[in-house]
Symmetry: C2
Subunit: 222 residues, 2 copies
Amino acid sequence: MPAGQTAAQAPRSQAERTAESDARMLAAAVELICEKGADGTTLKEVGERAGYSRGLAGYRFGNKAGLYRFVVRAIGEEWLAELGRAVGRRVGLAAIHAATDAHARFISRGDLKTRAFYILWFSSVGPEPALKSVIAHIHARRQQDVEQWILKGIANGEVSAEVDVTSVARHFCAAIIGIVYQWLVTPDDQSRISAMHADLKQQMGLSLPPPGKAAAREQADE
Amino acid sequence: MPAGQTAAQAPRSQAERTAESDARMLAAAVELICEKGADGTTLKEVGERAGYSRGLAGYRFGNKAGLYRFVVRAIGEEWLAELGRAVGRRVGLAAIHAATDAHARFISRGDLKTRAFYILWFSSVGPEPALKSVIAHIHARRQQDVEQWILKGIANGEVSAEVDVTSVARHFCAAIIGIVYQWLVTPDDQSRISAMHADLKQQMGLSLPPPGKAAAREQADE
DNA sequence: GTAAAACTTGCTTGTTTCAAACAAGTATTT
DNA sequence: AAATACTTGTTTGAAACAAGCAAGTTTTAC
């Protein structure tokens, strides 16, 4: 039984109980992943740190992969919603700049959730089908969003129709991943991360020229 | 006792024995990491698949982190040497283009070693100090090499002195990481990877303009 | 309408299995 | 015979699952 709450004897519904234990175990998992890594975290500790028994995490999520799937899904959805709000109704380069800024804020906020999210993100590269599919899904949605922004920018007349939409979107997503990697392995240097986001925004400006000027791609092909 | 080799009864030196068992365990580890991921690989299986007892890998490398340190160091050194040969005495943009091409060949060669190397690379993001320091070292060397190429390109008069050397080098390394990530999670699409390397080369061309023209950075700041 | 019985679900505790880690032993080279 | 490569025994601890207890929820009886 979770500590505290001795005052109210009113019986909580089962839905409330699971919601609370889920939330507490999510928080515990985030802490432990940041402290000991995804590999070093044990289901036993997650349950106990959340204020329950050693067995609850295993019972609720089935296994470690199930727990991590839950964690990534929960934080990922939260982040995608925040990203949507930050971008708003912007399109084209403006949308990409807003998204980049939101991402910069997201990872420089010093939130444990962000760090745990990306630790799990990179841990899923191996042939573990469980987590991988969840992350691939988030990744694909991200990239589709970026493609949509560019396409709407073209339709809007802000971006040249000659740009290779999927190629630029892919490049953007890859660059974000690269930045996140740098941040994870050297989290101390805060200004470095801001600089990399600024660089990326500027690079995307070159990749998405207005219709009048030739696309950067053609410029470079002598 | 490793199977085969029944013909020669000539006693092998101890150095030869360890060299062989090291090599066999390296190969076994690479296979297992690709099959089951870094997490799913066990020291027991590594020893047994290499043709030895269940205990040898643990005895030789101390623990799993030690094995992975060995694997990353071995493959990493091999790759850095290959990279050095590919770049040769080139400097500036030519060096970066050659390095990008070499990297494209490296990861599109379909070699299990490459895949295992990068699986371990990404697995080290958590707070596991052991592997992390080895990888951080390789990462730092890569980035220093890139900085040197750019600096020599500037000294050579091929590249504008106005470019922010560390910033561009960092961006290049981050982009490579991003591409590797894409390759690891969706290894099927071969042409996608080539396209991303081509994009990167072209982007670097914009980031490293010749001395006459203004740097891309200044161009974008309206 | 309400109270007790029947059922469902949240959570805990026992138990098995298996890998990690290390100690102690055997075989091979010097 | 001394040292080194390698193997085997043993302990510890987590994962996974089964079985049980307790709290919540629905059904039935009056």
